[in-house]
């Protein structure tokens, strides 16, 4: 099974991400989105699975402040 995941980062305005991954996201796990290290807060099904794909929505929070560009 592959997981197509919509990541939304709460808090400061930061871009979320869409990532395809082999392992399901787990609450409390950390993930790198661009330059931001995030912790997963919530995992939900977004769409019914199709074929080998599951479609998930993940809410996460940044673990470190983002430097202004």
């Amino acid at each position: 099974m592959f997981y197509k995941v919509s990541y939304v980062i709460t808090g400061d305005r930061q871009p979320g991400a869409i990532l395809n991954q082999k392992e399901a996201p787990q609450m409390g796990a950390e993930i790198q989105i661009g330059a931001t290290r995030c912790q997963i807060m919530e995992v939900k099904n977004l769409l019914p699975p199709q074929g080998d794909f599951a479609y998930l929505h993940v809410t996460c929070q940044a673990l470190e402040p983002i430097a202004e560009e």
Partner: protein, 149 residues
């Protein structure tokens, strides 16, 4: 051209294609490597190809300094200009120290779809599903931001 089948198997564009079809389509493209913040596509320019992220991440920047979304391995981008012949609507930059892409020329993709009708239908369906997923993601992002006030 040596895109690994393992990578293609979790790439949206190739869902439902046979291994042979996926490899033949991938063979239409070229692999490219980009480095942190390097521009991959420029907003406003004519779009003539679609890209698939093989490794690393890229960021979509509709206006300077505003990153809309980050896309990782398996994700495609640049499809809008292939479908509607309009200019690029956002600048795309590399968001990780390195990102490897597969760049497929639009005319080659469309020719493949015409030549292999069933696979072509599947590819167009995959593109449509991917676009709807991106819209859903965008809506969730807006909803989340509004909930926070």
């Amino acid at each position: 051209m040596s895109v690994k089948l393992e990578v293609l198997s979790h790439t949206d564009l190739f869902i439902g294609l046979s291994k042979e079809q996926a490899l033949n389509l991938a063979a239409c493209g070229e692999e490219e490597i980009y480095h942190q913040d390097e521009v991959i596509m420029q907003r406003g320019e004519r779009g003539e190809n679609i890209c698939i992220v093989l490794t690393g991440q890229i960021k979509v920047e509709p206006e300077e300094g505003y990153d809309l979304v980050i896309l990782g391995a398996g994700q495609g981008f640049g499809e809008m200009s292939i479908l509607d012949a309009g200019p690029r609507s956002a600048t795309i930059r590399c968001a990780t120290p390195e990102a490897k892409l597969l760049r497929i020329p639009g005319p080659a993709l469309l020719a493949f779809c015409e030549e292999h009708c069933c696979a072509g239908y599947q590819i167009m369906y995959n593109l449509a599903r991917d676009l709807t997923f991106k819209l859903r993601h965008r809506n969730l992002d807006i909803y989340s931001a509004n909930q926070e006030g």
